[in-house]
């Protein structure tokens, strides 16, 4: 389609994000909450909704919800109830879902994102608690549907944004931030592929400058960050095309097919449902006391946006570095710790972002399993800063040796490897003289103005010294010799 036509339209997206909480037990029973177990093993009479059973609240799930709310800068509601949302489905044993849909525990809050329109805030409408349904499995060609109730009753948070998103990349950033937060808070594994983080997007388009929102379509089944982006972009163009053809957008639920990259309308009668919301009489109200809130606030780990600010403001790191370092809580905390032992923050950042990260990737391990402690990395940085070993040698030869013998001080290792840099004139000058004698024509050429030959001389000197000379010092001495 003509880009100028596309450019006349504005995309409007709001997200409804479900995240499964990684509590030990389910939201309203003591049944085990665990992914990937043999189907229909994690349930008791409560999950099965046997006659006479009653729900019981899971305090941990409530605390997780509050933590997420605090992390998203929401207002925490003190008096909370659950409603029954009534509908019939085989994977919904009670015939209703317990949800805070109508009275969420967290209100407001926001995420900061940046896109081609600059830095913007995506406001949150709310975060509420609810329980998951079981899983219906429709096998192709089977005459029946199978139901797995392991997931039934698993605690969920639903995070709902305002329709503030204008670019697909903003939606992706919101999702990334949510995933990062739940992992920082350790309240969910945030795994999209396994469905513990799920995203539904309400997507519409309108002519730029229009006040009124277009008719929205709900897109489901985007089980990766990439698919969130692709689905929104596809849906935007599909709607623009339809509008350009004079067609009406139907308010419907569509599913994204990752194989084709397209969305498809789902034939559902959902619009006809009257859920008959009704306050759950089997649970007393959950009242969040001041002291509980205070305690939870004090238990909050450092959050990615806070660390980002610290890294850029206090450590003067470029935002790129701060972004990479704060992406994973464990990396960020390792870095924080490293900065206790060194004040060369930029060097510390480089070590972590490149050298250590590639080691982790190659060996497929997490930072927690990295053999060297942050203080030991600080020792390496110190050796380089003192001019004892070159940066390159430190990151290769010395690091390798250190990883094999973490209990030996790196300076001792450097000595053993004979890689301590020489910055002594008496050591370097004879080597320079040898090199200059070997290339008399080049010396002449340099003197006539071919200054870029300096690099070649440096290389030869380094080679002859087996990399042991301090490059800064060597550079200075070569220049002096040539200028003579």
């Amino acid at each position: 389609m003509d880009q100028t036509v596309v450019d006349q339209y504005e995309l409007v997206v709001g997200l409804e994000v479900h995240t499964q909480l990684s509590t030990q037990t389910k939201a309203f029973s003591n049944d085990v909450n665990s992914y990937g177990d043999e189907p229909n093993t994690n349930f008791s009479v409560i999950t099965l909704a046997h006659p006479g059973t009653l729900p019981k609240s899971n305090k941990v799930a409530v605390e997780y919800a509050i933590k997420m709310g605090l992390a998203c800068r929401c207002k925490i509601k003190r008096y909370n109830i659950f409603d029954r949302k009534n509908y019939f489905y085989p994977d919904l044993p009670k015939g209703f879902q317990l949800t805070q849909d109508k009275a969420p525990i967290c209100l407001g809050g926001y995420f900061d994102v940046h896109s081609e329109r600059g830095e913007v805030k995506i406001r949150l409408n709310r975060i509420h608690m609810e329980e998951d349904a079981g899983k219906s499995i429709h096998l192709e060609g089977a005459a029946f549907t199978m139901v797995d109730l392991n997931r039934a009753g698993v605690p969920l948070l639903e995070i709902v944004t305002e329709p503030d998103i204008r670019y697909a990349e903003e939606a992706v950033q919101v999702m990334e931030q949510i995933r990062r937060l739940v992992r920082y808070l350790n309240i969910s594994d945030g795994n999209m592929e396994e469905g513990s983080l799920r995203c539904d997007a309400n997507i519409s388009v309108r002519k730029k400058g229009d006040e009124q929102l277009g008719c929205k379509v709900e897109v489901k089944n985007m089980n990766s960050m990439r698919n969130v982006q692709k689905a929104i972009e596809y849906e935007k163009l599909r709607q623009i095309k339809a509008l350009e053809l004079g067609e009406e957008i139907i308010s419907e639920t569509r599913t994204f097919n990752p194989d084709t990259g397209k969305t498809y309308g789902m034939r559902t009668k959902e619009a006809l449902n009257d859920y008959r919301y009704f306050p759950e009489p089997d649970l007393p109200p959950i009242i969040i006391k001041e002291e509980d809130l205070k305690r939870l606030e004090s238990e909050m780990p450092p959050l990615p946006h806070e660390l980002f600010m610290k890294f850029t403001d206090e450590y003067k790191l470029p935002s790129y570095d701060a972004g990479v370092l704060t992406d994973q809580k464990e990396i960020a905390l390792y870095f924080e710790d490293l900065c206790k032992y060194t004040s060369n923050y930029k060097s510390a950042s480089n070590w972590l972002m490149t050298t250590i990260k590639s080691y982790l990737n190659e060996n497929n391990i997490e930072i927690g399993d990295f053999p060297l402690k942050s203080a030991q990395i600080a020792q390496l940085i110190q050796l380089v800063d003192d001019g004892q070993v070159s940066n390159t040698v430190a990151k290769n030869k010395l690091l390798k040796a250190f990883l094999k013998a973490p209990s030996v001080h790196p300076k001792t290792l450097a000595e053993r490897l004979n890689i301590i840099q020489e910055s002594d004139d008496d050591f370097i000058t004879p080597i320079i003289n040898n090199v200059l004698e070997r290339y008399p024509d080049k010396v002449v050429a340099y003197k006539k103005g071919k200054k870029n030959l300096l690099g070649m001389f440096m290389g030869e000197v380094m080679k002859e010294s087996k990399g042991k000379v301090d490059p800064k010092k060597a550079n200075q001495l070569i220049r002096e010799a040539l200028e003579k």
Binding site: V45, A49, G52, F96, V147, D274, F278
Partner: protein, 479 residues
């Protein structure tokens, strides 16, 4: 056999009888009175086996508080490994995998459960006629209903088929049949007994209740089965007093009755007369009996029916034919499976209440009915609490009429049928404890019940008074 647990226990301790004798006796009584249709099934072998064990314990002096207490269970209270179906076809063949907390606590004190009792389907009804097993019959009078929904539970005690019954009371379902059958019906404060294992009708009204020959037995059973429970988030955390040790206090009580209840149109003249006699006797004994205005009376029943049907409509959603119980045999798609299973599985009254509840919760009527009824409920509760701060008890007839005939009510006069709960629902709407005591009979030999309601968690006071009342009216208590 003995009519009180005290006498039973004494005889057991003296070795005059054994628990085995008791079980054999009650099983015989049940068999002899099959026509009353009280028990859906009896647990003969198991009860006998348990009886022998408890006989040993009695000999050894290690028997629990309820040793020798033979209890019948309304078909809405779960007993592990036993069938339970709320007298409904929709739970055909269902076996409970756990004990209700009340059952567990009673078993721990060596009670014996002898069988499960007929009732109105899902405890919805005032006559025990709405049962998949057919009506139970009142042992007093001919072809009379025993009341409901715990009709058969009252029949069982009245006709000596067990010493005590555990029923459930959502709008009067223990007190009303107790009144109709001439026995004692106790509904404790809402949340006093865990509801875990009680099949829900209307969660914010349901309480397990006790039907017994006398107040002492009720007090003892309540003392055992009440209290905290991790499986019920709404149960009261208050400590359970020793109800069985309550002595008769030497005090003058302040008792109130509402003008509206005495003037109510449907009040049977003989019951009105009995009320007047009772109040007069109490006055003569030096107690204060005063009238108060309660114009809200006429709103109690509508409030009750809106809220209980709303709760029931979602509580009963789980009976869908998917995981257990009855499923239509017709080969149909999912939606039809739901419709057919539920249409075929539920009885008329249950379907009617599900429909009513679905209606009052539907988006367009939610505020007009459900929200408004919740507000009215709050008002009634506040008003009643205030009254009961001023008075010790509110006295009223338990029922407007004595036991009516089987088949008297149908779709044409359903509202009159619902009026049977007129005086009992207030205790459920407000959550307050109430007891129905049998006082006198009509000319037709039908028992009359008088109800006393106290403020929340005042069971001790209520039992103290009931003990006194029992002695005062001993000559008039139904035999």
């Amino acid at each position: 056999m003995y009519l009180t647990y005290k006498a039973t226990r004494e005889a057991l301790e003296k070795g005059e009888i054994t628990c085995q004798n008791l079980i054999e006796h009650y099983l015989k009584r049940i068999k002899e009175q099959k026509h009353l249709n009280a028990f859906i099934e009896t647990f003969d072998e198991e009860a006998l086996k348990k009886a022998k064990e408890i006989d040993q314990k009695i000999k050894a002096g290690t028997a629990g508080k309820l040793a020798g207490m033979v209890i019948g269970l309304k078909d809405v209270i779960c007993y592990k490994g036993h069938k339970i179906q709320a007298a409904s076809k929709i739970l055909d063949g269902f076996v409970s995998r756990f004990n209700a907390t009340a059952v567990k606590k009673a078993l721990a004190e060596d009670a014996i459960f002898i069988g499960r009792q007929n009732c109105d389907e899902f405890a919805m009804g005032s006559s025990n006629e709405n049962s998949a097993f057919g009506p139970s019959v009142n042992p007093h009078g001919k072809n009379r209903v025993p009341g409901g929904s715990s009709g058969a539970s009252a029949v069982s005690v009245a006709a000596g088929m067990c010493l005590v019954s555990l029923g459930s009371d959502t709008g009067g379902s223990v007190r009303q049949p107790a009144a109709f059958c001439g026995v004692v019906g106790t509904k404790p404060t809402y949340s006093r007994i865990s509801r875990y294992g009680l099949i829900a009708y209307a969660s914010s009204f349901d309480t397990i209740g006790i039907i017994s020959n006398n107040t002492a037995d009720a007090a003892l059973v309540l003392e055992v089965i009440a209290g905290k429970d991790d499986n019920d988030a709404t149960v009261s955390q208050k400590a359970v007093p020793s109800y069985s040790k309550v002595a008769i206090p030497k005090k003058k009580w302040k008792i109130a009755y509402s003008k509206e209840s005495m003037q109510s149109k449907g009040l049977h003249p003989e019951i009105k007369q009995q009320m007047q006699n009772t109040m007069q006797t109490l006055s003569q004994e030096g107690h204060t009996v005063e009238q108060f205005d309660f114009p809200m009376l006429e709103y109690i029943l509508p409030t009750y029916y809106i809220l209980t049907t709303a709760e029931a409509s979602t509580n009963l959603a789980r009976y869908d034919g998917v995981r257990y119980g009855y499923r239509t045999e017709k080969k149909v798609d999912l939606e039809e499976m739901y419709k057919k299973s539920r249409s075929e599985g539920f009885g008329e009254e249950v379907k009617r209440r599900i429909m009513l509840g679905t209606f009052v919760l539907s988006a367009s009527y939610h505020d007009a009915y459900f929200t408004k009824a919740q507000k009215v409920r709050r008002l009634i509760k506040e008003h009643t609490t205030q009254l009961l701060e001023k008075y010790d008890f509110i006295i009223s007839p338990t029922t407007p009429s004595p036991a009516f005939g089987i088949g008297d009510y149908g779709e044409d006069n359903l509202v009159d049928y619902y009026l049977a709960d007129l005086f009992t629902v207030q205790a459920n709407v407000t959550g307050m404890p109430a007891i129905s005591l049998p006082v006198g009979k009509t000319k037709n030999e039908l028992p009359i019940g008088i109800q006393f309601m106290a403020n929340a968690f005042e069971e001790e006071k209520l039992f103290g008074f009931a003990n006194y009342f029992e002695k005062l009216f001993a000559s008039e208590m139904v035999k």
